[in-house]
Symmetry: C2
Subunit: 407 residues, 2 copies
């Protein structure tokens, strides 16, 4: 008897990502290069792993005293405490006042999923989310799926080649009262004191709820404190907020999403109520978060010697990134490529804009087998001694060719 | 300036679980016993871990050739393939026909979350879920949170002390067309051939969508194939269904939720469409599932020697459970406790009903410091050489005291 499928009306989902990587993989050209990896790469072209992770992993797996029991739904307590201390500092007043807490999540996607589920249920008026960052953030989709109206803005000005504080200020001015503001990577945005003051006052008066994303603390400037300075402003000003904190990328534990949804409340009573509701959502999402990554990270964060080694490894990565950026700029200068390439070294972090237009990017992808996103934002750790000449030479050709349409 | 908290209206969430364990932990009595652990315990009172897991974990952590990169959103391909083969057998026709697939999830909670999100979006008419099992299942809550109306039934008859097939049949008769039927542990339900036939025909004609829960294959009877026999019936009859498959409990990897949401479709085309949509949901839930547990399990399942060791360890656990049940029954008989205690040995698995009434259970908890749920369903692996005498003696007292109200 032929049966009608219950799945008859289910369409094939639209592919969300990965087509650039797929094209790169299928490309047989010997000079092919992929500049869009999400994670920090080594000079040898492998995902970077902090050395301290390798030895901690080995030590943990050989420890006969460990058990492998379920974690509580909120997660590993020592991991959450160590994560919060990392984010807000050892002497944070807010931590001392017991108004900062967190739920251990499955990476930053898990943290956003959990936080947005909470907001949808308990902050019903906040059904609009504004997302502002220096890049396209993936978390807008989570808000959208859960019924929020989402508006996204980038602070990168592709004409003037800089991060424009006015974009941020304009967004803050126009957003409606009581909505959610997702604040991604805006560290390279140089606010004046006056601009900050204005921004904070507006957010406060309009009761905007900030939701920060800290995906790789320490990998931006190489300095853990510097990378979370913006959070300290908001804590000091008495804001309540959520923050997604991921520790996968800055330790190099990519195969375990290790995150925390951080909650800052006005007092302990509010904090406990929020955490109790978050626990309810986490229970339905994954019941118990995975342990391995959190265990490695906690071992490192709670051991001063290992912590020192980890900090050194972050600093080395940040220095290496800056060195690569300097080299790229210098090579473009020596090739006589017109224009200032200062924007490359003016911004920190693994990723940055090359400042190329769509036509130039297309030339690099189609003719030079160099794969990068259409907006020209690349991962500078994908550039190393063995491909830098080919890449800079190709950028040079792209710029010259598109300058003179006859060629 | 005092600020109004955005969390002012958030109430403290109602505690969902853990009060029995909490009471046990706070109890200072030297004979206190907890009989409600979810997982299989060793004779020494620790969560059981298959020995093969320890050595595989060590071997993996010392393997320099492994990378720790992100898994794809659908998860580890080799893990999914090995899991499906475990569930449906090496020579499954459905696997050969490419109409069986899966998404690697964060444990069984993750599998249900993912599956129910899909059903809510793509099977909109199916807004009612019936849950049937031998116990109270946690997954009803997930359906409820996502807007389903949920009805729950247990096949355990506390009067006649057996698993009643008629409860299942009655549910199947009364459920409305096109709804979801969650089928938990009903393995101890002895259907006649005729009853199965009737049940299948009804489910098919009413286009009921089954959602199975296989939380610990192999730990019920000690035989991997026997424990999934019910699935084979449904596959053979051409049903489409979902199945949450968890491999945390039967390997003893409790700290990593290792699961798969298994999809059985009528053909490959439908399967691919469903998987593509599930991937979309998984992307928003956790983006990449954690690797450690899946890597250990895949290493065991794909290595015939390790697989053999693991199967042996499951068999040993099942035999040990049956031995404990025999001993409990024998001791109760020797103590002259009235009634037949055959129901204890007539059912397989770690958990089973003692067949005590609420008053008897209360006596055990309050007077004897033996902690068990109100329905008297205990984990028999919590009983061992050092507590069996105290437990059976206490059960005896409970039965005698409640038989004669004057005492």
């Amino acid at each position: 008897m032929p049966t009608l499928s219950v799945f008859t009306d289910v369409p094939l989902a639209h592919k969300l990502e990965g087509s650039l990587l797929k094209a790169y993989r299928q490309d047989g050209h010997r000079n092919k290069t992929f500049l869009a990896y999400k994670v920090c790469m080594t000079n040898e072209g492998h995902p970077w792993v902090s050395l301290v992770v390798h030895k901690t992993r080995l030590q943990i797996s050989g420890d006969p005293s460990l058990d492998y029991e379920y974690l509580p739904t909120v997660g590993m307590k020592s991991f959450i405490e160590a994560s919060l201390e990392l984010l807000f500092g050892k002497h944070s007043e807010a931590i001392k006042e017991n108004r900062v807490g967190g739920v251990h999540t499955v990476g930053d996607s898990g943290a956003f999923q959990l936080g947005v589920q909470f907001l949808r249920t308990w902050c019903k008026h906040a059904n609009v989310a504004y997302v502002i960052s220096s890049q396209k953030e993936p978390h807008g989709l989570v808000f959208q799926d859960l019924g929020f109206k989402v508006y996204e803005y980038s602070i990168w000005d592709p004409e003037k080649l800089f991060m424009d504080p006015n974009v941020f200020l304009n967004v803050v001015e126009q957003i409606p009262r009581g909505c959610v503001l997702v604040i991604g990577n805006i560290m390279d945005c140089k606010f004046s004191h006056h601009q900050w003051e204005k921004c904070m006052a507006l957010l406060k008066s309009k009761q905007i709820f900030p939701f920060f994303d800290i995906p790789c603390q320490g990998l931006h400037t190489g300095d853990l404190e510097e990378d979370t300075r913006i959070l300290q402003y908001f804590v000091a000003r008495g804001f309540e907020f959520f923050c997604s904190q991921s520790l996968s990328k800055n330790f190099g534990i990519y195969d375990e999403g290790v995150g925390t949804l951080v909650v800052v409340a006005l007092n302990n009573q509010h904090l406990l109520r929020v955490l109790s509701q978050l626990k309810r959502f986490a229970r339905a999402l994954w019941l118990n978060p995975p342990t391995t990554g959190a265990r490695i990270i906690t071992s490192v964060l709670c051991n001063p010697a290992l912590l020192g080694e980890w900090k050194q490894s972050l600093k080395a990565v940040a220095e290496n990134i800056m060195l690569t950026k300097e080299r790229v700029k210098e090579k473009l200068r020596l090739l006589g490529v017109p224009g200032s390439w200062d924007h490359i070294t003016e911004h920190n972090g693994t990723h940055g804009y090359l400042g190329l237009n769509a036509q130039q990017v297309e030339f690099l992808v189609k003719k030079k087998h160099i794969y990068l996103p259409r907006n020209g934002r690349i991962n500078f750790t994908c550039i190393n001694a063995s491909n830098i000449d080919y890449i800079t030479q190709s950028i040079s050709e792209a710029v010259f060719l598109t300058k003179n349409p006859k060629n």
